[in-house]
């Protein structure tokens, strides 16, 4: 009986993996929604609407880093569904360019994660220094590789 939670957890993991493989659009959208939510917390901190906490700041950065590391894997050939997805067809016309734009996000997020230390950036200024380079990469990719609406 003690193994029930573990079994449930394993099932959930399996379900996630199956969901991601079957439906890359839903998977990448969930990742980017998560990314947006993390950015909203970062924005709230930078705009002084959310009180600074090193642990929260670290969670934001770690979340970006996780998305950056994996999201590029969910744009298989043929997944430009105009009804469900705002991914621009240019992703598949220029996969190298898309990966290069994504790499800027990966590099900035990885550098921020590495610099946040065990407890997260000490104060808002330290966080801003790590977060702003990450946040500046969003548009670089969206400009060419995501449709307006």
């Amino acid at each position: 009986m003690r193994n029930v939670p573990i079994a449930l957890g394993a099932l959930a993991l399996l379900a996630t993996a199956a969901f991601a493989a079957d439906d890359p659009i839903a998977a990448r959208q969930a990742l980017m929604d998560n990314n947006g939510a993390a950015t909203a917390v970062a924005g709230g901190i930078l705009k002084d609407q959310i009180a600074y906490s090193p642990a929260v700041a670290k969670a934001v950065i770690t979340s970006w880093n996780a998305t950056a590391a994996v999201v590029g894997g969910y744009f298989p050939e043929g997944s430009a569904d105009a009804k469900r997805s705002h991914a621009a067809p240019k992703i598949w016309e220029d996969m190298a360019g898309f990966q290069a734009a994504l790499a800027k996000f990966q590099d900035a997020a990885f550098a921020a994660a590495k610099a946040s230390g065990k407890d997260g950036p000490a104060d808002k200024a330290a966080f801003a220094k790590l977060a702003q380079p990450v946040m500046q990469t969003c548009k670089g990719c969206h400009q060419d590789y995501r449709l307006e609406n």
Partner: protein, 307 residues
Amino acid sequence: MRLKRLLGGLVVLGVVGAIGFWVATMPRGLPAATLAALPAGDAARGETVFWVGGCSSCHATPGAKGDARLALGGGRRLVTEFGTFVPPNISPDRDHGIGGWSAADFANAMLRGVDPAGRHLYPAFPYASYTRMKLEDVADLWAYLRTLPPVAATPGPSELRFPYAVRRGVGLWKLAFLRDGPAVSLAGADPVVLRGQYLAEGPGHCGECHTPRNLAGAMDTGRWLAGAPNPEGRGRVPNITPGGKVKDWSIEDLVYFFQTGFDPGFDAVAGSMVEVQESLAMLDDADLQAIAAYLHAVPAIAGAPQP
């Protein structure tokens, strides 16, 4: 005898019609008196007009950032259903750009869509919006453009499909659609809203992408800013009336978006709006607040952009 007379009549009618078309569609610049009243222009004020208009989005090298946005050599390709438009070099280079133009030439292009050779310009150059601009703003913008670096390169010509390749047709289009009055009636609105209306409907030319067009390619003022298919063919340009995507955005949210590219949910701006936003970010808070106030004041139209 009768047939001859009938044929003769038809020929006369045809000639009269052709002359009528020729006269009606003649490119017409501004009246001489207006051009004579053209003020000298102030380059510092013109810089503001430049960023409201986002001239770099079409006339700088695609993807240009920072000061590279001031090198207006043209060369972007706008692929539309009418054909491919190639925005020209508008840098002060005498041979490749508009360095040989006079202020009056520039005013005719901006406000009437006529080039110095007396030809109609295609309304892909958004003079259907610029025609609402104040003469002094056009003069200021001209003074500012004169200060930018010359670019010695001529981008390729536009390639339009028939019948759009016939420039005289643009004369008919102007007769039917070119109006310098406001797009929506906000009479009695406060001065901040009216300033925003001027910026957004005139130099800012927001309607050119955010308003759907009729079959002749003119903006449908009945669905002003209600969103439209992307003129470059992919995706949709959002509805930015209070009935659309931005309905819950406060004035502060809109200003923050113009300044940073992040919407209230911290999604980042995408597509061709990136360059527009980066131009708007150069404006001062008062002008951005005016544009935001205007967006709160325009008639709300519900729903997503129509296909």
